[in-house]
C-alpha cells in the first residue's frame, strides 16, 4: 500500500517439537496501518504475535523494522524497538492490584536520597487516566485483579499497551471477553492509535469488528499465510472461504 513499511516478516518458521506451527509466513505492516490477523483455532496466530513480541523465538526467518533487520529474542528487545503486546493469556498477575499490573516492569518511582520508592500516587493517577480511555468500570484500583470480572481484567491488560509511546501494538483477541459497549471502546481506541501513526496488528474471530477496523486482513491456515485482502474489495464470505479452504482470493491474495 502507499503507507511506509514499518514491520516486515520474511519467511518465519516455527516448530513445536514435531508440529510445524508457522510455515514460511511473510507479512508487512505499514506505518499507522491496522492489520487484522484471522484464522481458525490453532492456525498459528498467537504464535506469530509471541514471536514478534519476543515472548518466543522463531526457528527461521527474518524480522525487519523500517527496513532494518532486527532480532527480537526477548520481551525487552521488543519494548526497546517500540513494540507492545497484549497476549491471549493477558499476562496479568492475579494477586497484584490494578495499577501494580499496569505498571509491572515499568514502575514509577520517586527518590528519597539514593533510595527509590514506588510512587503509588503517580501510578494511581496515571492508571485512572489510562482506564478512562476505555469504557471500564473498575471497582477499586487497590483490589487484586483476581477479584475482577474477565472483561475488567481484559481492559486492565489493554490499558498497559498505552503506557509508553510505541510504534506497533499487537493485540491477541482484545475483545474476546468484552461487552458490546466495551468492545466498541476498544475499536475507537484503535482508531485513535491509528490517527497517531501507531500500527496495530489485531487478532480477532469477530469478522464484524475486523471489517470495521482493519485496513487489511491477513488469513492464516494451519501455519501458512493464505493471503491478505482489503476489506473494501472483499466480502465476509470471501474471508470465511479463505479461512476454511485455505485458498487465496484473487489478486490481493497473491500480492503477499
Amino acid at each position: 500500500m502507499e503507507a511506509k513499511e514499518l514491520l516486515k516478516l520474511a519467511n518465519l518458521n516455527k516448530w513445536y517439537d514435531g508440529l510445524h506451527a508457522l510455515q514460511d509466513v511473510s507479512l508487512t505492516i505499514g506505518e499507522g496501518e491496522v492489520v487484522a490477523l484471522v484464522g481458525d483455532n490453532g492456525a498459528g496466530k498467537s504464535t506469530l504475535v509471541k514471536i514478534i513480541s519476543g515472548a518466543q523465538g522463531s526457528d527461521e526467518g527474518e524480522i525487519y523494522l523500517k527496513g532494518k533487520p532486527v532480532t527480537v529474542s526477548s520481551p525487552k528487545d521488543a519494548s526497546n524497538l517500540g513494540i507492545a503486546a497484549l497476549h491471549q493469556s493477558l499476562g496479568l498477575v492475579g494477586s497484584l492490584n490494578v495499577f501494580e499490573n499496569i505498571f509491572l516492569g515499568r514502575e514509577e518511582t520517586r527518590s528519597i536520597g539514593p533510595i527509590k520508592v514506588l510512587d503509588k500516587k503517580k501510578m494511581r493517577e496515571r492508571a485512572i487516566e489510562l482506564l478512562g480511555e476505555l469504557a471500564i468500570d473498575v471497582p477499586r484500583l487497590g483490589v487484586p485483579v483476581l477479584s475482577m470480572s474477565g472483561g475488567q481484567r481484559q481492559c486492565v491488560a489493554i490499558s498497559r499497551l498505552l503506557l509508553d509511546q510505541v510504534n506497533l501494538i499487537l493485540m491477541d483477541e482484545p475483545m474476546a471477553a468484552l461487552g458490546v459497549a466495551e468492545g466498541q471502546k476498544v475499536l475507537d481506541l484503535i482508531e485513535r492509535l491509528k490517527e497517531k501513526g501507531v500500527s496495530v496488528l489485531i487478532i480477532s474471530h469477530n469478522l464484524e469488528h475486523v471489517f470495521s477496523i482493519a485496513d487489511r486482513i491477513a488469513v492464516l491456515k494451519n501455519g501458512r499465510m493464505v493471503g491478505t485482502v482489503s476489506p473494501k474489495n472483499s466480502s465476509r464470505s470471501d474471508v470465511v472461504r479463505m479461512i476454511t479452504t485455505g485458498e487465496g482470493a484473487g489478486p490481493e491474495g497473491a500480492a503477499q
Binding site: V93, G94, S95, L96, V117, I136, R140, V143, P144
Partner: protein
C-alpha cells in the same frame, strides 16, 4: 469523554493495600486470645519480664521469617536456613574466638550466609531445580560442612561488642528485639514500597507474566534467596550472641519454625502475596506456645509436636480462607449440613 473517567473509582482514601489489614487483624486476635488463655492457666505467663523474654526468644525467628516471607511470596521455599545458620556461625565464631577482629567476624557471618543464599538462588533460577529439592540438598550438604568444620566442638566466648547484640539493652529493650523490629520494618517497606517487592509478588503470582514484561525473572529469584541468606546471617548472629555459643548442630529444625511462622501469619504457600506483619506475629505466636509449654513443665519434644500441628492448622485455615477447601467438604464437619 469525561463520563468514562467517572467510572473509575479509587477506593477509600488512597489505601492500596486494603486487603492486608484484615489478615493482620485475624492473627492479632489469635495472639490476644492466646495471651488471655495462657495467663488464666498460669499467671506467671502474664508478666512484662516474660513477654520480653518471649520476644527475645522469638527475635532470630522473626528476622528469618522476614526473609522467608519473600521466598514463599515468590512461590519458593528454603529448607536450608538452619544449615546456613550453622555453617556461617561456626566459621565466623571460630574466626573471632581465635583473635579475629569482631567487625570482620560479623562480616564473615553475614557474607557467608548471603553467599549460600545466592547459591540456593542460582540452583533454583539458573539450574531450574525445584526450590524444595535444591534447598533440601543444600540443607544436608551445608550441615555436613558445618559438622566437618566443628563436629563435637562447642564454640564460646564472643568479643563483648558482639555479645552485646544478643545480651545488651537499649532503652530497656533487649537488642535482639530491637534488631528484629528493624528487620521487620525494613522487610515491610521492601515488600510493599519497592520494585523488588512487587517483582517478588509477581514472581509468585504469575512468573510468565513477569517474564513478558521484560523483567529478568532469574535475577529476582537469585536476589530473593540472597536476601533470605542475609536474614539468616542476621538472625544467626542474634541467636549466637544471645547464648554466646554456637556449634555445628545449631539451628536444627529451625526451618520448620521459620516456615511455620510465615504460614501462620497468612502468607500464601501458593505464592503471590505475603504479609510481614503476619510473619512477625506468627513467630511470636510460636514462641509464646513454646514458652507456655516450658512454664507448664512440658517436655521440650512437645514443642516439636505442637509446632507441626499448628502448621497444619494454619495451612488449613489459609485454604478455607482462599476457598481451596470448603467446610462442607471436610471430613467430620461435612456431615452437619449440605
Amino acid at each position: 469523554m469525561s463520563v468514562s473517567k467517572t467510572n473509575v473509582k479509587t477506593g477509600a482514601a488512597g489505601r492500596a493495600d486494603g486487603a492486608f489489614t484484615f489478615e493482620g487483624l485475624g492473627i492479632t486476635a489469635v495472639l490476644l486470645v492466646i495471651i488471655v488463655v495462657f495467663s488464666f492457666v498460669n499467671p506467671r505467663f502474664f508478666a512484662i519480664e516474660n513477654f520480653l523474654n518471649i520476644l527475645t526468644q522469638a527475635a532470630p525467628f522473626i528476622i528469618m521469617a522476614v526473609g522467608m516471607t519473600f521466598v514463599i511470596t515468590a512461590a519458593g521455599i528454603d529448607l536450608s536456613v538452619g544449615s546456613i545458620l550453622a555453617l556461617s556461625s561456626v566459621i565466623g565464631f571460630d574466626f573471632m574466638t581465635s583473635g579475629g577482629h569482631p567487625v570482620i567476624g560479623v562480616a564473615i557471618i553475614i557474607v557467608v550466609a548471603v553467599a549460600l543464599g545466592v547459591l540456593n538462588g542460582v540452583l533454583v533460577a539458573y539450574l531450574v531445580i525445584p526450590p524444595f529439592i535444591a534447598t533440601l540438598a543444600t540443607m544436608v550438604s551445608l550441615r555436613g560442612l558445618a559438622l566437618l568444620h566443628s563436629a563435637g566442638t562447642m564454640h564460646y566466648g564472643l568479643p563483648e561488642a558482639v555479645a552485646f547484640l544478643g545480651q545488651g539493652k537499649v532503652l530497656g529493650l533487649p537488642m535482639p528485639v530491637l534488631i528484629a523490629l528493624l528487620a521487620a520494618l525494613f522487610g515491610y517497606w521492601l515488600l510493599n514500597f519497592t520494585k523488588f517487592g512487587v517483582y517478588c509478588r509477581a514472581l509468585g503470582g504469575n512468573k510468565e507474566a513477569l517474564r513478558l514484561t521484560g523483567v529478568s525473572v532469574k535475577r529476582i529469584e537469585v536476589l530473593v534467596y540472597g536476601f533470605m541468606g542475609l536474614m539468616v546471617g542476621l538472625g544467626g548472629l542474634v541467636m549466637i550472641a544471645r547464648i554466646d555459643s554456637t556449634q555445628a548442630t545449631i539451628g536444627t529444625a529451625s526451618e520448620i519454625h521459620v516456615i511455620a511462622a510465615v504460614i501462620i501469619g497468612g502468607t500464601s504457600l501458593f505464592g503471590g502475596k505475603g504479609t510481614i506483619y503476619g510473619s512477625v506475629a506468627g513467630a511470636i505466636l510460636l514462641a509464646m506456645v513454646a514458652n507456655a509449654l516450658v512454664i507448664g513443665g512440658a517436655d521440650f519434644f512437645w514443642q516439636l509436636v505442637v509446632t507441626g500441628i499448628i502448621v497444619l492448622f494454619a495451612v488449613l485455615i489459609g485454604n478455607l480462607r482462599e476457598g481451596r477447601v470448603s467446610m462442607a467438604k471436610l471430613p467430620l464437619f461435612g456431615r452437619t449440613k449440605s
